[in-house]
Amino acid sequence: MSLAIATSIGLIGVRGVPIEIEAAIGGGLPRTILVGLPDTALYEARDRCRAAVASSGLAWPAQLVTINLSPASLPKTGSHYDVGIVAAVLAASGVVPAELLPATVFLGELGLDGRLRPVRGLLPALLGARAAGLVRAIVPMPQVGEASLVEGMTVWGARSLADMVEILHGRPVPVSAVSAEDTAPAPENAAPGKDLADVSGQPDARWALEVAAAGRHHVFFHGAPGAGKTLLAERLPGILPELGLGEALEVTAIRSLAGLAVEGLSRRPPLSSPHHSASVASLVGGGPRMPMPGAISVAHRGVLFLDEAPEFSPRALEALRVPLESGEVTLSRAAGQVTYPARFQLVLAANPCPCGYATTPGSECRCTPLTIRRYAERLSGPILDRIDIQQQLRPLRRAYLTDERAEPSAAVAERVRLARERQGWRLAGTPWSTNGEVPGAHLRRDLAPREGTDVLDRAVSRGQLSARGVDKVLRVAWTLCDLAGRDQPSGSDVRTALLMRLGHELSSAV
């Protein structure tokens, strides 16, 4: 009876937990059994591994091979254990030395020909491995770039099982010339061709977008089709400040888990724009056993853009309410509970009515008043109440198109950056970093404006503004004053913020 242990990583949400793969050989008829709560895909690893070993010209032990994944109580899922299983079996049968097995983490799926295939969630797995004190990693060659984002680990890329055997023997593996070039971090401006300079006219909406970016406010664009709602919303990530290293790692880890391509660390905030046919599960995350992250988690630290918002199913929209408040989403299954971060900035876009022209002067809207009201009511009060800025877009007039080129994203981004800096100083020592996140109590106690409160009082007494609405107005007022470089919101800031909150015409149209 000979035994060897290799280590891989199991993922619970974005948390990586070390999994020990024990292989014991001997004591019965030739057979291979895999125990330790594997799911179907993982149980098939047994057959994949045998075929891969055979086609690499190595021998699978002709004895009873028992493979155990421990801790046995944790449900394990996925195909990335293949490489670790083979490493343990080969070490137990003496084909490779076991010296390197401790403190090395093995990740990769095997092809029947012995090739190492890329796996989902490599980055969070390696972060978990490093936290658990593992110092070396063997990963599929195509993912060396992703793996090298984890500092402080020795990473070996292997193209095939043959490469892995060489590595475990301590012999050098020829590195293909492409890997160094291909895995260089992606260019920082990852949204080419999406510049604000392309948006003609709409000065009010551009200003609303800038304020939303500066204070991280949720924003709602409504207006006639073709006015540029989508165009504007897609350019929001381009004017947001770059992500810090820690934030960028969080974002990239979720991308990796969601199975999206990871080419180096992107400092650009992500944009996630699900189609309005999205299911609840695809939006907030879901799936059997271990749920996958959804669109709101992919938008973590970035922008969630819901175009044609009233067309989304009410259930899908209502599912956003809790993540909007808590900045994370907890999905529970019989097998366990998973929490994914979901701190996103919400951008909604909608037409005023099904035909789209209800608010356009001079055009004929074919909808009845009842239809228009029904359409507006699809966005429920609780969702709209969380929106700080409502902005109407008017259809373009000819004169706008002859304008000289509008201001480019870089100029706007610079103002946004300065405004964020001012917020950072003011909120230093608190858990928040932007105006949009500051809770109402703190806002009213420590950050009450000296001017303009009379306007708010009047709006509240007229029933135009709720208590939560007052907080929203104050947040936007602070952002306006940060953008203007003042120390205190002026009465004019508060009035402007109130108008942005009430969304001029929508309040009268609905």
Binding site: G28, L29, P30, R31, A62, Q63
Partner: protein, 119 residues
């Protein structure tokens, strides 16, 4: 070599091998209504054991290891046969079922794998 001769040759080799271990082969190809046992031998010692051997012979590895061919159903049948034999002869010993795999590749020395206590 056809299937029967290959099997026969394998059983001869297995019997030779067991006698080489000092065991006494008491029965070859014992048949009854339930089926056939390839070899019955007695392992000597302080407490002798009657061992029922299933011999699997292969001329190559194209279809896997010889011993891999012993399925669960085959093992269940071997247990029934062993019990039957013990009832008929009632030797005063314990019993056990072993598997013997023999690889007879042309031009190679025969390779014998012996796994004790397979069921």
């Amino acid at each position: 070599m056809d299937r029967q001769t290959l099997g026969k040759r394998g059983e001869d080799l297995a019997a030779e091998y067991l006698e080489g271990l000092g065991w006494r082969v008491v029965e070859r190809r014992w048949r009854c209504a339930a089926g056939e046992v390839d070899l019955v031998a007695v392992e000597p010692g302080e407490r002798p054991v009657t061992v029922f051997c299933e011999v699997k012979t292969r001329s190559g590895l194209g279809f896997g290891e010889p011993l891999e061919a012993i399925t669960r159903a085959k093992m269940a049948r071997l247990r029934i046969l062993a019990a039957q034999w013990m009832r008929e002869r009632h030797p005063r010993t314990m019993s056990r079922v072993d598997g013997i795999g023999i690889l007879l590749r042309p031009g190679w020395d025969p390779l014998i794998t012996h796994v004790r206590g397979i069921s």
